[in-house]
Symmetry: C2
Subunit: 345 residues, 2 copies
Amino acid sequence: MGPSVERHLPVMADVARLAGVSHQTVSRVLNEHPRVREETRARVLRAIDMLGYRRNLTARALVTRRSHRLGVVSFDTILYGPASTVYGIERAARAAGYFVSIMSLRTIDRAGVNEAIGHLAEQGVDGVVVVAPQRAAAQALADLPAGLPAVAVEGRHEGDVSVVSVDQAEGARQATAHLLGLGHRTVWHVGGPDDWLEAEGRREGWHAALSAAGRAIPEALPGDWTPRSGYAAGKVLAGRVAEVTAVFVANDQMALGLLRAFSEAGVQVPEQVSVVGFDDIPEAAYFTPALTTVRQDFGEVGRLSIGLLLKQIESAGPCGHERLVVAPRLVARDSTGRARTRAPH
Amino acid sequence: MGPSVERHLPVMADVARLAGVSHQTVSRVLNEHPRVREETRARVLRAIDMLGYRRNLTARALVTRRSHRLGVVSFDTILYGPASTVYGIERAARAAGYFVSIMSLRTIDRAGVNEAIGHLAEQGVDGVVVVAPQRAAAQALADLPAGLPAVAVEGRHEGDVSVVSVDQAEGARQATAHLLGLGHRTVWHVGGPDDWLEAEGRREGWHAALSAAGRAIPEALPGDWTPRSGYAAGKVLAGRVAEVTAVFVANDQMALGLLRAFSEAGVQVPEQVSVVGFDDIPEAAYFTPALTTVRQDFGEVGRLSIGLLLKQIESAGPCGHERLVVAPRLVARDSTGRARTRAPH
DNA sequence: AGTGGCGATGTTAACGCTAACAACCGTGTG
DNA sequence: CACACGGTTGTTAGCGTTAACATCGCCACT
């Protein structure tokens, strides 16, 4: 039998020996250093191939102090929004030559977020993206480990962290304005959970649009993003169908529940009531009726946040916190229509 | 001013100096070695706290040859199924003290999967979970880097890799049997993409259940998981409503499209046609009508796959490939009902 | 012919940690 | 009182890589 089969994986020194060069030359070939003779490079590459050598990026990270890995802290990555955001981040990171380590949290409290960031820092990530749609998560960014580059996504501009977010208020304004433009006197609202910044932004945009038009502002109904809560809100609104002609629901899942409640109560959409959602989940176009909603560009959010993070990492300093905003856009479908005319005009 | 602020992060030696012990003692405290005097431990912990020291797990990984990180290769992590699976895996991994690095692929070909696994191996993960619902991904597992522990999820039992999967055929059988039990003569099927193993399993289960009952087996309609394709299938089936009384759709999103097509065509569900989906996405209970579907336990899949992987890692040897199967279960809602009686019984 | 310069390669010393072994100390025993 | 022993701590040597510097030819120029 040949040499023991159960040996270590080959290391640079093994390649060097086989190629008849020093391990540093192997390193140079791997790092595409320009000052290596073509013939030497070929010999090294052949040796690498023969041994099936793979470099150990852990050792490299130790000496270069760069792991080429980024951490992502998120919350409930099954929800369409966070899942899409994380996906966008991961794609952008990989395009830039970085890996991504993920921590999804079940509970979002300041301590939990801090702990997650701490773990990632120990693991040696070069920076972190915190998808922080909740107030508590945004606050946690105030006490980051010193010197760790970080970017918040969907967060609030607190502390010295750069933030990338979709302009929730703008989306809500578009949704509300769209409904007012169709002749509705006012627009009702089913909101998201109070501790979510996105819920707050959407509520604000809705409120602002109504104010700007000088319309009455109905009290918002509470919701928690789930279809169930939208259903409950729908039951309530269906009972007041005389006065309700348009509803802006803070996300598509709740809009689904609301449509269901309306359908059960015999309320016709859009003939009696118009409905707008938010998110444009893949199912939205196939709701009955197809849902008018607001689409967010998660890919862009991912690209921008990674761009900002890499700028911090590469400049090796806290280079002024920025705030980048991505505009959402309304996608009009069949759940919105002209208001029933109460009085002849 | 005190000592230069722009110094390195503190390392073990700094802690040791401040605590008046050797760095090895610091290491022992951190690793909860039993042979450390209580008072020494306290002094070290105090020093750690004062300096804000965090250990460098990269250095630790280099010497222990254990990164406590696992790689996950997946595909389109926005889809409910993969997203849930990845989430389940991540939770189980963290519960076991492991971190997770994710690579979501856009295209699933053998080369792409291999490359992803290779990158993760270089990064020093202790093992990989490959969420391989497509034939091509499952095949890629045949040529894994030697010595890298791996587990496939939703894959096929090829090569020497352990596999954890939901019993798709069983779920489809339950769905089909449920419909037959309601008096339907036969059950139509809208399938998933041909290259997905899950689509294949669901089709097989449907086929087997019909065969076992000695029923006619209609030709399956093609689909690609999207609501759009379900809608198209729904249009076709609505045109044949005389003969179609029950449909098993391979996932919930397509079922949504199908319900929409039925609704547009005036086909009543479940009065005229019963519909069953697969996945139990959070929206399913709020479709109109609420969708009868098949629920998969992704948490269990995550736990089992991590369990299998850690067994391989800790035994440090390829300990016989296993095949674990998780049973899905039917969730009956309002989209299924008794068959219209053609002839008096 | 001597010297400067540059391209290609080798040598040495980290990076921050753990494993292995050595050393020390107080105590109980022959 | 010498000695063994076990609990506690220190010392040394890597893990596999890159950075920094040293070396060695070779050619061009004065």
